[in-house]
Amino acid sequence: MLRISIDRADELFAAIAAQQTLYLPADREDGQAEYKKWEEGVKLSGRLNTVRSAKDFFFPQTENLAEFKMEGKKIEVIDVRRESEDFVIFGVRACDARSFGILDKVYLVDPVDTFYQTRREHGTVVTMACTRPAETCFCQTFGIDPTEPEGDVSCWSDGSFYYFKANTDKGQKLLNSLSSLLEDGDTATLDETKAKTKEILAKLPLAKLSTENFGCDKLNEYFSSAKWAELSESCLGCGTCTFVCPTCQCYDIRDFDTGHGIKRFRCWDSCMYSDFTKMAHGNPRLTQLERFRQRFMHKLVYFPANNNGEFGCVGCGRCLSKCPISMNIVKVMKALEEK
């Protein structure tokens, strides 16, 4: 398998960055990881995952959709889309890599979201296999193997080398461009690393969490469950879960008057917010119970109902570690399953 010594990581990153913009997880001053543009001196984070998911690369938190010039009774619409540049995201974990497939099922179905599509076409995803999954991880629940991540290029580390395998034409093209740096090598120690990781995975506290009791046939049973009242009682409606979630894709569209024109932008929104469904004549989701229920029903029942049983969660565990009241999708699943 193609590999490069980890000692030569800077050479590898420099070679990629010479062709395309390269982003990778790097440690912030507070010790948490976030995606940064690589430049000399930026080191790949050793942490399990980034605080925010990688969805920003394809579905940014805010973006301009159009501009309008207003003059008297006349309006001019200006298309602000620009052909974006090629870029590489290095070190995406298996959970986040799967989330792109889920976002695709929303944004690439007819009518295609061209803003998202352009970025997807220009981005090459290099994943990184996990070696030290955490207690909050449950990607296995959704059929994800973190030792065999998807992506345009899959990458593994055994502590001494990075190993690479291309899964798509785009990925192959990237590896071809790095051929002078990569050498063929055996994978004996990598296989050991994978085996060790699998042992850890089997012992994770959420290893047994199953989706067998979820899906489209549970729609009315779970919607009318008495459990929602208790589960949602403490929810602050802060939307943190939505913002750190790699699969949450709801958005708002708003206009902003710049003083010399109107910018129409979209930004992430949350079904946890009280004004999300509020209309001039009322709100179908009046209390936090309905809003809380919507978020989990969407991931566990509605999304699978519309997508051949695929769930709208990848088990990254961010909501488990970030929710200020320690509520999360795992607790919701367990509560709903109890008879």
């Binding site: 009774k73 889309r81 929303v106 352009t118 569209i253 929104d269 309905e290």
Partner: protein
Amino acid sequence: MNKDTLIPYIGVVTDIRQDTPDVKTFRVVSPEGGKVFEHMPGQCAMLSIPGVGEGMFSITSSPTNKEYMEFSIKKCGCLTTWLHAMDVGQQITIRGPYGNHFPVETDLKGKDLLFIAGGIGLAPLRSVINYVRDKRENYGDIQIVYGSRSKDDLVDYQEIIDEWMKDDGIQVNLTIDNPQEGWDGHVGFVPNYVKELNPSLSKTVLICGPPIMIKFTLAGLKELGFTETQVYTTMELRMKCAVGKCGRCNIGNKYVCKDGPVFRFDQLGELPDEY
């Protein structure tokens, strides 16, 4: 790059009709003249004034009208207040058509039709009514039951008395909530009036109005022997994208913007009661 559906076209408002104290009907054409796009009865469009907001409105004109589109809009929020303050000649932005439509060329063809509307609920049905009037030979008997708070709140009143009531084979039954000077027609709520009229069970029903009216009318229809499979309605929830992606107009796993707005009541019955 292809045009993205979120990027709107320009429409010009060429006529504004004050229908009721809080409902105006706007005629919209493209700057070059003619319709901005084609649609089917029951479909909607996103109208916007940049800087104010964008909202989904049903297209009230019939697709058989080849010159322009019309929108009947009730003044009730920021955007609609702005729209009501417009003068003729104002440009707006428009995108669409969005959503499904009443099955005028399939399930409704050859059927006796009963339209039941309350208040501004006539707006989406007017598109169907004028469509079937223009293709009269394709449909059976037509009955229209329309009610409002008062005589002054009947949308399209002039078209109703000048055109619909004069058509052969169309029965129009109007009602207002309370007695009013100058009104010698029926007085009472729509649900009760429908029961009094005791329509034939052969009819396929299209209903739109305030939720409370729909609820009681549907219950009344069922008492008369109608089944949910012969009653259609059209829904409205908050929307931003209009293409099933922004995530807010869903009822269960169905998006009103994309899978609706037209639903048959048996289909609606399978969805959670959250609308």
